[in-house]
Amino acid sequence: MSATADVRLPAAAPQLDTFRHYRQLTVELAISQFKLRYTQSVLGYLWSLLKPAMVFAITYFIFVDLFRINDGTKFYGIQLLLGIVIWTFFSECTASSMASIASNGGLIRKAYFPRSILVIAASLSSLFTFLINLVIVFVIAVALHQIDIGLRIFLVIPLLLELYLLAFGISLFLSALFVQFHDVSHLWEVLMQLLFYGSGVMFSLTYVLQRLHLALGVGQTKEQTPHLLWIVQLMAANPIMQTIEDLRHALLTPQAPWTELVVSGHLAAVKQYAAVDVPWEVPIPFLAVALVVTVGALTFRARARNFAENL
C-alpha cells in the first residue's frame, strides 16, 4: 500500500459513545451560540446586562414616578427588576430557540444528530445569561438591603427548573412549526405582548386584586364586570405569573405572594365576587407547564424527521 504522505497523517481518535457525544455537542453549540450572540458589538456581553437594566429604568419611571403604581412595599423596585430579568429570559429564550432549527439548515442537511439538541443548546445559552443576571439581581438586592433571606431560597431551584421547562416546551413547539410556517414568529410576538401584561412583570397579582376590590367596591357589581374576574383567574393560572411571583417570594421577600396565595388565596378573594368554585386551582400552573412540554415534545418529534427535507 502506498504510504506516500500518510506517515504524517495522525491516528484517528476514538469517538465518544452516543450519550456523551450528544452532551458534548449540546455544550459546544450552546457555547458558540453564546459567543455568536455578542459578536460584532462593542459592548458584547454587557448588552445582556444593559438591556434589562434599561427596560427597568423605563418601566420604573413610567409606572412608579408617572403613574404611581406601587404595591405599597419598599421592595417594589427590586421585585420589578427581578420580574424584568425573568421576562427577558423567557422572551429571548423562546425567540432564539424558535429560529434555532431554521437557521441551522446547513448542519441539519449535512449531519445526523437528534435535532432537539439545537433547541436545547439555544435555550441553555439563554439560561446561562439569565443565571448571571439573576446573581447580579441578588447582589443588588443584598447591597440595597432589599432582601430577606430565608431557607425558602432553596425553592429557587425547582422554580427555575419549572420556568426553564416552560420556555423549553414552548421553544420545541415554535421551532418545529417555524421551519415551514414563518408566520408563527409574528403571531408569537403579539402573544408575547399579551403575556407581558398577563404575567405580572410590572405589578403583582396583589396589585390587580387591590384594584379589583376597589373597582368592585365602588358601586360596581360583579355582573357588570365579569370580564375582570375572568382576567384575574387567567392570570392566576398563568405559569409565568406563578413563577415570577414565586421567585420573588423565594429569592427576595416573603411578603410577596406564594403559589398557594397566588392561586387559591387570591382566587378565594375573587370568589367572594364570582360564583366559581375550582377545587384544583393550585396545580393549574404546573399542569399547564406539563401540558406545554408534552405538546411541544410531541409536535417536535413528529416534525423533526422531515426537517432536512423541508429546510
Partner: protein, 432 residues
C-alpha cells in the same frame, strides 16, 4: 443483522420528495385553502433500491446529477427518512457527509475546531490534546485565533480536512469530498483513502471522479433516475456509466478545467492516451507502454511550419518533463495548406511515473517566432496506477547490488551488522 460481516443492508428502499408547486405555503394559505389540497409535484428520488455492503468494503456510488446518489447517502446517514424499505447498519457511522460541517464564519479557527469536532464525536479533552496537530497539519499556526470568515477557501478546506481525519468511525459516508480542493488537497484525500482501506473501514463514496472510483473502490453502484442499474466490479460499472453518458474516455472531467489560448492558426484536436493495444486508457500502469496522440488541423494559409511541445504535469502543477518535437520531424508537419492535418504521437515505452494524478499540456507554436497557435493546459488528465504500490513520483529504474568485502573487518564481537546487511534490501521502507 444476522450476518456479522455485513456493514450495511438496504432492502427495497424508496424515497419520494413532495415539491409544492406554489411556494406560498404559509399558515394563511393553509387556513384559506384548507379544502383544496396543496398541489405537489412528486419527485421519485429512489425506487426499490436493494444492496448489501460488507464490512471493510470501499464502495463507490456514481450516476448523473439528480440520479439519487446523495439522497441515498443521506438516508444511509439517517438525515432523510425513507418512504419505504429497510436500512440496517452495523457499526458506528460517521455523522457527517462533507467537510467543514458546522463551521461558522464568525467564530475563530479554534472555536470552530471544538464545534465541528463535537459534531464528529470527539471529546473536548481529546481536541485540546490534538489542537496543535490539527492546526499544524492544516498549516494555520498563525491563524488559530482569527475568525474563519477571514480565511481563504483553501485555508478553510485544509482546516476542515485536518479535523475530519481525526475522527474514527467504522463506516464513513463521503459526498463529493474531492470536489472542493486543489490537486495537493486531492492527493491528501487519496492518502486518507489508502489509510481507510488499510484499516479495513467501510467507506461509501459518492463522487463524479471516476478515476477515484476505479482506483479505490472495490465495488461500484450505478444509479439512474433513482434506480439501481448496476452493482458490481468498478471497471464494469464505470464503463457502463461512461457508455450511458456518452463519454468517449475517462476524460477526467471532474478535474481541473482545461484552459486554452492561442491564435488558432493551427489547432489541436482530440488528445487521447492509448495502451499498447491502441485502446484508450487514462489509467496507465507504471512500467507499461503509453501513447499520447492528438490531431492537428491547419486553419490558416500563412503558417509556414510549426513545432510542438508536450508537458507532463503532476496533479499539483509540478512540471515533470517538457518534450519538444525534434527539428527533423518539422518537415512532416510544416509547409502545409489550409485544411491539411494529421496526427502527432508521443510514445513512452516504459512509463516511469508512480501512483498519482497527472495531466498533459500541449502547445503548437510557430517555428521561428514561437507564436502560440494553440495551447491546451490540462488537455488530458490521467491517473497512473502502480500495481506494486511504490512510494514516490518516479521509478528511477535503478539496480541494487551488494558486494561483500574480501577480508572481514576488525569488528568488536557483539556487533554483527555486516551479516544482516544482505537482508535489508529496501532501506527507507518503514513498517507500520
Amino acid at each position: 443483522m444476522a450476518d456479522r460481516d455485513l456493514a450495511i443492508r438496504v432492502e427495497h428502499l424508496s424515497k419520494r420528495f413532495r415539491i409544492p408547486l406554489d411556494r406560498s405555503a404559509t399558515l394563511k394559505h393553509r387556513l384559506t385553502h384548507w379544502r383544496s389540497a396543496t398541489r405537489y409535484r412528486i419527485l421519485q428520488a429512489l425506487v426499490d433500491v436493494s444492496f448489501d455492503v460488507r464490512a471493510g468494503e470501499f464502495i463507490g456510488i456514481i450516476g448523473h446529477n439528480g440520479s439519487g446518489k446523495s439522497t441515498l447517502l443521506k438516508i444511509l446517514s439517517r438525515i432523510y427518512q425513507p418512504n419505504a424499505g429497510v436500512v440496517a447498519i452495523q457499526g458506528k457511522v460517521s455523522p457527517f457527509l462533507e467537510l467543514g460541517v458546522g463551521f461558522n464564519p464568525e467564530l475563530t479557527a479554534r472555536d470552530n475546531i471544538f464545534l465541528s469536532g463535537a459534531i464528529l464525536g470527539l471529546s473536548r479533552a481529546e481536541l485540546h490534546r490534538r489542537l496543535e496537530d490539527i492546526i499544524g497539519f492544516a498549516e494555520l499556526e498563525q491563524f488559530v485565533d482569527h475568525k474563519l470568515k477571514n480565511f481563504s477557501s483553501g485555508m478553510q478546506v485544509r482546516l476542515a480536512f485536518s479535523l475530519a481525519i481525526q475522527a474514527h468511525a467504522d463506516i464513513l459516508m463521503m459526498d463529493e469530498v474531492l470536489a472542493v480542493g486543489d490537486a495537493p488537497f486531492q492527493q491528501k484525500c487519496f492518502d486518507v483513502f489508502n489509510r481507510y482501506k488499510r484499516e479495513g473501514r467501510t467507506v461509501v463514496l459518492v463522487t463524479h471522479e471516476l478515476s477515484a472510483v476505479t482506483t479505490y473502490c472495490d465495488r461500484a453502484l450505478l444509479l439512474d433516475h433513482g434506480r439501481l442499474v448496476a452493482d458490481g466490479d468498478t471497471a464494469d460499472v464505470t464503463a457502463q456509466y461512461r457508455h450511458a453518458i456518452g463519454m468517449a474516455a475517462d476524460g477526467g472531467r471532474a478535474d481541473a478545467e482545461m484552459e486554452r489560448w492561442g491564435s488558432r492558426d493551427v489547432v489541436v484536436t482530440g488528445i487521447r492516451m492509448l495502451d499498447e493495444r491502441g485502446v484508450e486508457d487514462t489509467n496507465p500502469a507504471t512500467g507499461g507502454f503509453v501513447r499520447i496522440e492528438f490531431g492537428y488541423v491547419i486553419q490558416n494559409d500563412v503558417v509556414a511550419d510549426f513545432s510542438c511541445v508536450l508537458w507532463l504535469m503532476r496533479g499539483d502543477g509540478v512540471m515533470i518533463s517538457e518534450s519538444n518535437l525534434p527539428v527533423s520531424q518539422y518537415a512532416q508537419v510544416g509547409e502545409s495548406q489550409r485544411g491539411a492535418g494529421g496526427t502527432i504521437r508521443f510514445d513512452i515505452p516504459q512509463l516511469t511515473l508512480l501512483d498519482g494524478a497527472y495531466s498533459i499540456d500541449v502547445e503548437l507554436q510557430g517555428r521561428r517566432d514561437r507564436a502560440v497557435f494553440d495551447h491546451l493546459k490540462n488537455g488530458l488528465h490521467f491517473r497512473v496506477i502502480d500495481r506494486r504500490e511504490r512510494r514516490g513520483v518516479i521509478e528511477p529504474g535503478g539496480a541494487w547490488s551488494v558486494v561483500p568485502a574480501e577480508q572481514p573487518a576488525d569488528v568488536p564481537e557483539p556487533l554483527a551488522s555486516t551479516r544482516r546487511a544482505g537482508r535489508d534490501e529496501r532501506p527507507g521502507r518503514r513498517r507500520s
